[in-house]
Symmetry: D2
Subunit: 432 residues, 4 copies
C-alpha cells in the first residue's frame, strides 16, 4: 500500500488540533500493536532468542510503561501505578527512571502473563483517555502543548517498537524448527527488476536535518549546512540476484573486500549469506514471515549487516552513500513504498516506477551515527532517547516494510551496530 505523498506529508507534520484528534490517533496506533500480535500463540510472546530480541509481551508492556511513567504519573492527578514492580521490569534503558531488569534476562520471566500485560495496557489506555480529555478542558496553552508533544513522542516510540515487534517475531518464529507462518504471502509482481540507472546529483553547499512543524526526534536536528562533492546514486536497491553473484564469486571467503572487524565477524560467526538464508540442494532458501521459501532474485537483498553491505559495495567497485547524500536525494522523492500498512512484511521487487527510497528495507549508509552540529538532547529522562547511543553505530535511512508509513521522514535517522542483521536492512550503491 502506498499513500499519496501529499497526504502523507500532511499526516507527518500536523500536530493534532484537539483532544479528539489526539485520542483517535492514540487509539489507532495503540491498536496497531495488538494487530501485530494477533497471529501469535501465547508461547511466542515469552521468548527471547538473542540479546537483541525482546519478548513481544515485553514490548507491549514497555511501551505502556512509557506512557505511565512520562505522562500519567507526572500529569494525571491521583494516578496509581498499575503494579509496583512493573517500573523495574519494563524500563528499557532510562537511567534517570531508576534501576531496571537486565536486558538479556527478559526472556526468563514467565510473569506477568500475556493476559496480565494486556490488562496493563487496558488500564493505562483508560487513564490516557482521561488525561487526553482533561488537557483540552483544563490545561493552559503551553501545558497543553507540552503534554500533546509527549503523547506524540510516546506514539512515535510505540511505532518504533511496532517495527521491532515485527523483526523480533520473525527471529522468534525462525528459531522454531516448525516453519510457522505469521502472515499469508501476498503475491508480488514476479518480473525482473529494471537495470540500475545512475542518478547524478550536484555537489555544493546543501542543507540537511529537520526543520518545521510536526514531530521529529531530537537527533534529526538542527538543520545545518554540509558540503557535498558531486555524486551518483543507484536508481534502486541492490537485489538478491546481485548479492548472489557476490556470494558465488567467493565474497565471503576473501578478506580483501571486508573491513577488518567485518572479516573477523564473518570468521567468528561463520557467516556465508544474509541472515535467514540457508543453502539447500535445490539452491538458496530463506525464512520469511510467510514461512520458508526460495530466494527470489528480483527482491531487494535484506538482513545484511553493515559489514556485508560495505563489502558488497567494495566488491562492486562502488561505495555506500553518506547520510547527507541520501537525504538530499530522497528529499525530492514521494514518501511512498512498501510500508507496514501493506502488511506484506517483506521487501518487494522494484517496479520500475519507484526508486525505493522509502519502505522495503532500511538502507545502510557509510555515516557513523554522530550528533549534528549544535545538537541538544531533550531535557529530562526522554533526553536519553537518542544522544547517548552516538558511538559505534551506523546510520540507516528510509524505513522498511515493517515501518509505519506515518513514522518515516527524509530526515529520519535510524541506527544500529555494524554487525546487526535482524532488522530489514539492505543497501543502495553510490559512487563519485
Amino acid at each position: 500500500m502506498t499513500l499519496p505523498a501529499a497526504e502523507s506529508e500532511l499526516s507527518a507534520v500536523a500536530r493534532p488540533d484537539s483532544a479528539a484528534d489526539v485520542g483517535a490517533l492514540y487509539r489507532r496506533i495503540r491498536g496497531n500493536s495488538h494487530s501485530i500480535c494477533a497471529p501469535l500463540q501465547t508461547e511466542d510472546y515469552v521468548i527471547q532468542t538473542m540479546d537483541d530480541v525482546s519478548p513481544p509481551k515485553w514490548h507491549l508492556a514497555h511501551t505502556t510503561w512509557f506512557f505511565e511513567t512520562f505522562l500519567l504519573e507526572p500529569h494525571l492527578a491521583g494516578y496509581q501505578r498499575f503494579h509496583a514492580r512493573y517500573g523495574f521490569l519494563f524500563n528499557s534503558y532510562y537511567e534517570a527512571a531508576g534501576e531496571r531488569h537486565p536486558r538479556p534476562r527478559r526472556g526468563l520471566l514467565s510473569r506477568p502473563t500475556v493476559r496480565e500485560v494486556y490488562g496493563y495496557r487496558a488500564h493505562v489506555d483508560r487513564h490516557m483517555e482521561r488525561l487526553i480529555e482533561q488537557i483540552n478542558k483544563q490545561a493552559g496553552e503551553s501545558e497543553r502543548e507540552r503534554i500533546t508533544d509527549l503523547v506524540e513522542l510516546g506514539l512515535n516510540h510505540e511505532e518504533q517498537h511496532q517495527e521491532l515487534l515485527i523483526t523480533d517475531i520473525k527471529h522468534i518464529l525462525a528459531e522454531n524448527l516448525l516453519s510457522a507462518v505469521y502472515v499469508p504471502e501476498r503475491s508480488a509482481a514476479a518480473a525482473a527488476p529494471a537495470g540500475v540507472r545512475w542518478m547524478s546529483h550536484d555537489g555544493g553547499l546543501r542543507e540537511i536535518g529537520f526543520e518545521g512543524e510536526g514531530f521529529s526526534y531530537d537527533n534529526e536536528g538542527p538543520r545545518h549546512r554540509v558540503y557535498l562533492e558531486p555524486y551518483q546514486l543507484a536508481s534502486r536497491l541492490v537485489t538478491n540476484g546481485e548479492y548472489l553473484e557476490f556470494i558465488e564469486a567467493g565474497g565471503y571467503e576473501q578478506p580483501g573486500h571486508w573491513l577488518s572487524e567485518g572479516w573477523a565477524t564473518v570468521q567468528e560467526r561463520g557467516w556465508q549469506a544474509p541472515l535467514y538464508w540457508e543453502k539447500a540442494d535445490a539452491g538458496w532458501t530463506m525464512m520469511t514471515l510467510s514461512g520458508p521459501r526460495k530466494v527470489r532474485e528480483s527482491e531487494p537483498v535484506c538482513h545484511v549487516s553493515y559489514f556485508e553491505a560495505d563489502a558488497f559495495a567494495r566488491w562492486s567497485g562502488k561505495r555506500l552513500p553518506s547520510e547527507a547524500e541520501w537525504e538530499c536525494a530522497a528529499s525530492r522523492e514521494p514518501i511512498d513504498g512498501n510500508f507496514y500498512e501493506a502488511r506484506r512484511f517483506h521487501p518487494a521487487p522494484a517496479d520500475g516506477a519507484s526508486s525505493q527510497f522509502f519502505g522495503d528495507v532500511w538502507e545502510w549508509t557509510q555515516s557513523p551515527y554522530t550528533p549534528y552540529p549544535g545538537f541538544q538532547p531533550a531535557a529530562g529522562a526522554v533526553g536519553e532517547y537518542n544522544g547517548k547511543f552516538m558511538c559505534n553505530q551506523q546510520v540507516l535511512r528510509g524505513g522498511s516494510c515493517a515501518t509505519p508509513r506515518r513514522h518515516i521522514r527524509p530526515t529520519y535517522r535510524n541506527f544500529f551496530p555494524a554487525d546487526a542483521r535482524w532488522q530489514f536492512s539492505g543497501l543502495r550503491l553510490a559512487s563519485g
Copy 2:
C-alpha cells in the same frame, strides 16, 4: 503422607502381572505429570531460567519421546511418528538416538505450543494403551517381559522428570519477581526438632547394591561387598537453624572450611547462603513453592551444593557419610517420609520419630559417583542412562519432597555436580 514400609516395598519390587496392571500404572504415573503442571500458566511452560533447567513443556514432550522412541517405534507395528522434527527436538542426550537440539537453547522455542505438546502426549498414550494390550494377547513370555521392563523404565524415567519438573518450576517461578504461588502452604508442626543423637554402626564387611525382583537402575548393581570402619550417623538432617550458625560464624568468608574448588565457586558466584535465601532487614527469607516467607530454623536446610554441605560438615568438626555408610544404615529404616505424594513440596521439620532418611531432601554423600565393581550398562541406547555420567559428580541418597514414593529405594543412587543447588538437596552429618 507416609506409606507403611511393607506396602511400599511391595509396590517397589513387584513387576506388574498383567496388561491391566501395567496399563493402570502407566495411566496413573503419566497423569501425575499433568497434575504437576496443572497450576502453571502457559507462559511458565516455555521458560529456561538457566542451562540446568528445562522448560516444563520440554519435560512433558521428552518423556513422551522416550516411549515413542524406545517402545512404540520398535514394538508397535505400523506406528507413525507424531511429528518428523520431534525426535530432534526432544532427545535429551542419547547419542545413539541421533542428532539433537542443544540443551541451552531449549528455552528459545515457542513451538510446539503447550497445547500441541499435550496433543503429542495424548497420541502416544493412545498408542501405548494399544501396545500394552497387545503384549498380553500376542507376545511370547520373553518378549512380554522385555517390553514390560521397558515400560517400567519409561515410567521410572517419567518419575525422575516429575521431580525435575517440580525443581525447575520452582526455579522458574523464583526468577519472576512477582511472588507466584504454586501450591498453598500446608501448615507444619512448628515445634523445634529434637537434638541430634548419634547412631553408631558397626564396621566390617557389608554388602550394598540392589539385588532381587523389581525395577532398579543399572547403576545400583551389582550388589557387592565393601569394608567399613565403625561410624556414627546423626539421627536427623541438619536444620536451617544449625546452618544459620555457620553463616553467622562467617562460614562463607573463611576459605579454611572449603574445598579449593568450592571456595572458588563461592567467590565467583557471590554465594552467601543457600539458593533461594535472601537477607532482608527483618532476617532471612526464602522462596518456596508456596511463595516467599521467613526461613524457619526447625526445617532441614535445603538447596545447598555439595561444596556447602562439605564446608558445613568440616566447620562442624564432622564429615558427610559415604554412600555405603548411608545405605547400610538406611536399609534398616522404613521407607516413609515427606515425598511427592504429600504435595507439600518443601522439607518438613523432624518430628522425633523419623530419622528422615527418606524424603524431605536428597542427602549429599562424600562419595563420587563411580561404577560398582562389575558394573555393566544396559545394552542399546538406554545404556546411556547412567554410566556415561560417572565422572565429576557426587552421589545423593534418600529422595526428597519432590520424589514419588514409589521411585525410591535404599539402593537408589542420585548424582549431581558439586555445585548444583536447585534440587532439594541437604545433608546429614557423620563421624568416625
Copy 3:
C-alpha cells in the same frame, strides 16, 4: 625538546634526494628502536600484558619483517628470507601476505630469543643498505621513486611502532608490582598552568587533508572541502586538576554524563579514574615511565578513553572538537611540543606560550574514523594499512610525548577504539 616549525616542516616534506640521505635516515630511525629498548631487561621483551599490547621483541621483529617482505623480497635480487617461519610469526594483519600467528598469543612465544631478533634486524639492515645503494646506481627514475617511497613507508611504520613500543613498555612495567623505572624523571616546571582561554574560529567552507610533497598516509587524503560552523577551542589541554574535579563530583558514578556504551564499560571494568591512577591514603598516585608518583594537577590528563574524554566534556558543558575543527586550528600553529625526542615520555604542563596542539597527548576528537571523499587505499598489501580499520574507531590528533617529531603533521589521523586507554591520550575542549 621543540624544533622550530620551519625546520620541522622541511624535514617532514622533503623526499630524500640521494641514496646517502636515504641510508642515513634509515640508520637513524632504525637505531631509535634500539635506543627505546635499551633500558629493558631480556624478560621485558617477552611479555604481552593484554591483547592490545605486543611483546617488544615482536615489535622489533615485525617492523623488520615489513622491510623484508615489501622491500627485500620483491626488490633485492637473490635475497633469502632470514627464517622460514618468521613470515608467519611476524605478520601483523596483512591478509594478502598470508597466514599469521594469532595476535593474542604473541606473548606465548619464548623463541626466537631477543638475541635472535636482533640478529634478524642486523641481517635485514645489512641487506637494506645494499638495496639502498643499488637504487641510486642502477634503477630508473620511476623505480627509484617507488622504492624510496616504500622505504619511507617502512620508516613511518617503524616510527608508529616506536610509539607503540613506548606505550606497551609502560603497560608491561606497570603490570609488574616492583615499580620499575624506565627513564629517570626530568624535572618539569611546577607552575600552575594558565587558565583556559577560548580561541574563536570562523566557520565557512574550509579545506582539510594532505596535499603536496613529502610523505603522508593514504588516509590523510584527498584534500577536500568541509563546511564548519563558527567554533571555539580551548587554548590548552585539560589538566589532571580539572579532571580530578570531575572525579570528585562523582563523574564516574553518574550515568547521565556518559554515552550508553561508555557507561556499560565503566561498570564492567570498574573504572574510577584514568588508567595507571591509584587512590592511596595520601591522595591519587599514578604510574609513569619514571616510576610511580603523585598525580600533579598541572599536567595534562592522560590515559583516558574516548568515553571518559566525552563524559568529561559533557560534564563541563562543552564538547570535543571535530577533526576538521582541530585541523583548521592546528594548521596555523608551529609543530613544536613535547615529543619523543624530549625523552620525557610524559605530558608536560602548559607553559603559557604553547597551545599544546602537538606532542604531550593525542587529542580525542568527536569524529569517527571514516574515509575522506574520494579516498582510495594504496594498491597491494600495503593498502591494508589504514582503510580496513574505518569502522568503530575515533580519530585522535596531534601526536604525543611518545611520537617522533618527524612523524607528525597537522593532517595526521590517528585512530583507536573508544575504550582504548593505554596510549598517551587526552583531550581539549571545544564549544559552539
Copy 4:
C-alpha cells in the same frame, strides 16, 4: 637409570640423622632445580602458555618462598624477608598465608628477572644452611624433629615442582614453532614390546595406604582395609601402537566410547589424538623434549587425559584399575624404572623384564581422589597441601620419567582433573 629396590627404599624411608645429612640432601635437591633449568634461555623462564602452566622462574621462586615462609620466618631468629612483595607474588594457593597474585597472570610479570630469582634462591639457601646448622646445635629433640620434617616437606614440595618444571618446559617449548631441543635424545631399544600378559590378583580384605617411618604426604594415610574382588592387571602399559588402533578405528568420532563430559571435551577442543601429536602426510609425529619426531609404536602412550584413557579402555573391552588394585599389585614390585634421574624425559618401551609400574608415565586410575577413612590434614597452612583438592580429580599412580626416583612410593597418590593432558600421563588396562 634404575636404582636397586633395596637402596631406593632405604633412601625413601630414612629420616636424615644429622644436620650434615639434611644439609647435603637440601643442597642436592635444590641443585636439581637448577640443572633442570640449565638448558633454558632467559625468555623461556617467563612464559605461561596456558593457565595450568607456570613460568619456570615462578616455580624457582615459589619453592623458595615455601622455605622462606614455613621455615625461615618462624624458625630462624632475625630473618628478614628478601623482598616485601615476593610473599604476594609467589604464594600459590595457601589461603592461610595471605593474599596472592592470581594464577592465570603469572606470565604477565617480567620482574623479578631470572637473575633476581636466582639471587632470591641463593639468599634463602644461605639462610637455610644456617638454620640447618642451628637445629643440631641448639634445638631440643622435638623441635629438631619438627623442623627436619618441615625441611623434608619443603624438599618433597621442590621435587613435585621439578616434575612440573619439566612438563611446563615441554609445553612452553612446544608452543614455539621453532622446534627447540631441550635435551638430546637417548637412543632406546627399538624392539617391539612383549605382548600383554594378564596378571591375576586375588580379592579379599587388603590394606592400602602409608604406614611406617619416613616421609609421606598426609593424603596417603591412614593405612586402612579395603575389600577387593579378584582382578587382573596388564603386564605393561598401553603403547602408542595400541592407541593408534583406537584412533584409526574412529575412537575419537564415536560418542559411545566416552564419558558424557569426555565426549563434550573432545568436541569442544577438537581432540583427535594425544597432546603433542600431529598428523603429517607421512604419518603421526609428536613433540618431545628432544624435538619433534615420528610417533614410535613401541613406546607407552603418553599425554592422554583421563577421558581418553577411560575411552580407550572401554573400547578395548577392559577398564582402568582402581587405585587400591594398583597399589596392592605395585607393592610387590621393585621401585625401579625410567625416572627423572635417567634424564631421558620420555617414556621408554617395555623391555620385557619390567612391568612398568614405576616411572615412564603416571597411570590414570578409575578412582576419584577422596580422603581415606580417618584422614586428617596436617595442621596449619601446610594442611592446605592436599585435602582441599579432594573433589573432581582422578588419582594417578606410579610416577613418570619426570619424577625424581626418591619421590615416589607405592602409596603415592597423584591427582589431576579428568581433562589434564600436559603431564606424562598414560594407562594400564585392568579387568575383572
